[in-house]
Symmetry: C2
Amino acid sequence: MKSVSSAKSFGGTQAVYSHASTSCNCEMKFAVFTPPEDLHGTGPYPALFWLSGLTCTEENFITKAGAHRVAAELGLVIVAPDTSPRGEDIPEDPEGAYDFGLGAGFYLDASEHPWATNYNMYSYVTRELPALLEKELPIDMSCIGIAGHSMGGHGALTIHLKNPGLFKTCSAFSPIVAPSEVPWGRKAFTNYLGPDEAAWAQYDATKLVTGSKSDADILIDQGTADQFLTEQLRPELFAEACRLSGQSLTLRMQDGYDHSYYFIATFIEDHLRWHHERLSRE
Amino acid sequence: MKSVSSAKSFGGTQAVYSHASTSCNCEMKFAVFTPPEDLHGTGPYPALFWLSGLTCTEENFITKAGAHRVAAELGLVIVAPDTSPRGEDIPEDPEGAYDFGLGAGFYLDASEHPWATNYNMYSYVTRELPALLEKELPIDMSCIGIAGHSMGGHGALTIHLKNPGLFKTCSAFSPIVAPSEVPWGRKAFTNYLGPDEAAWAQYDATKLVTGSKSDADILIDQGTADQFLTEQLRPELFAEACRLSGQSLTLRMQDGYDHSYYFIATFIEDHLRWHHERLSRE
């Protein structure tokens, strides 16, 4: 694990590290905010994994979400991985589209050629990165939550539902909740997982929640002015599946907010407090 | 004035506009945050002009500083212009350097060819933009402050000192305070203003404060781990000039902070409250 950068922020430290990933077969970067030691000691601290959306890297959340102030106050680590494998040898969308390939790993393990060699963000986020962090950083691995935005909201929901014992709390902004039903998800899953839709269900939050609801209360914030709301996001599909399965869900439709980081910045404090309060009960 | 974008943020609105600038002879963009009407009515509101640093556009501050939360609470408009003229016909640094030309207007009116046609950010910020805003937006032009970062801190200090009746309050993060003495400033001034250093004094805060101190108390935050501190910034030169001239200055050396937006985000709340409190007394 190599240090890429480090800066003081709200008394804590915002660092970026890189390491050779065995899941993704390339060098991967991730960002970590650690809270001020003079307020919270040297840890181990509870942590929130943040999964970003299409086109993002490990940088977007840490520079745009305004999360440091409250994370510093609460004593919460924030871990923000990249959204896909990266590098010259990594296959990408043949037309350079923003919604597939680089910046669009969809937090799954690909089964299809040529993607399966590198596009294994599910294993990366759920196994490789937690193991690395446990070894290298002052994180209490029994107190981790997960959250994300858009494609990263899809990642947070599916990863929580499949690993409720590891990622104990879950929230999302503007998530893709039913990738099997929407253009972004269908394109990505067809390429990464092949045309057999039966293989898609393991990475579809709306399908997963039917069979694997968690004991956690899931929080979703969704802006009503989001340009992707009706075609790509469709939170009502997840809400209905939660209702049928008995999954506890708090879905807040936020009037007039769009898909941008301004929306995330406005409500990130609520999410950080939501996770911290629930993780503190563990 | 054309709308480029608009997004809800903390109950207010973050908009970007463009317009044909007569000062810069090109289309210019600027960003405006207006606070929530349900909390603060429809204005006119007090406003803070924010001037960004080298390489920045009107976007950096509004996406990275985390200023909306407190501006929304206080009922403060934030106006963030671009840092230079832009466009295909605008002359730029022949080697594409980051510290001169595009993204590096230094908030002055150039006198030298080929810069004088477009590089007139001083007139733009002090005359053209205020006149446009007064006509188009709910801003109380008798309650404006100015702040900035690095090159924009230089802009804020010089513009305040030359226009204390228009920009009544002033603060800066990591400002260039003595451009005539440091490499960034000497390069820019030699090109924009010519080799005669006598012409530089009108845009040098340390020289200006000797002759034109303001009644305002100026706030400067400077990180001690700033990589540009000793070569480019040198706040001690301004502090000494303020001491000699009787200019009130609060210079805070912030332990361990660097030159980045993490530093700005950490202390922007202090600056917004500083300006708002003083503007509210007017």
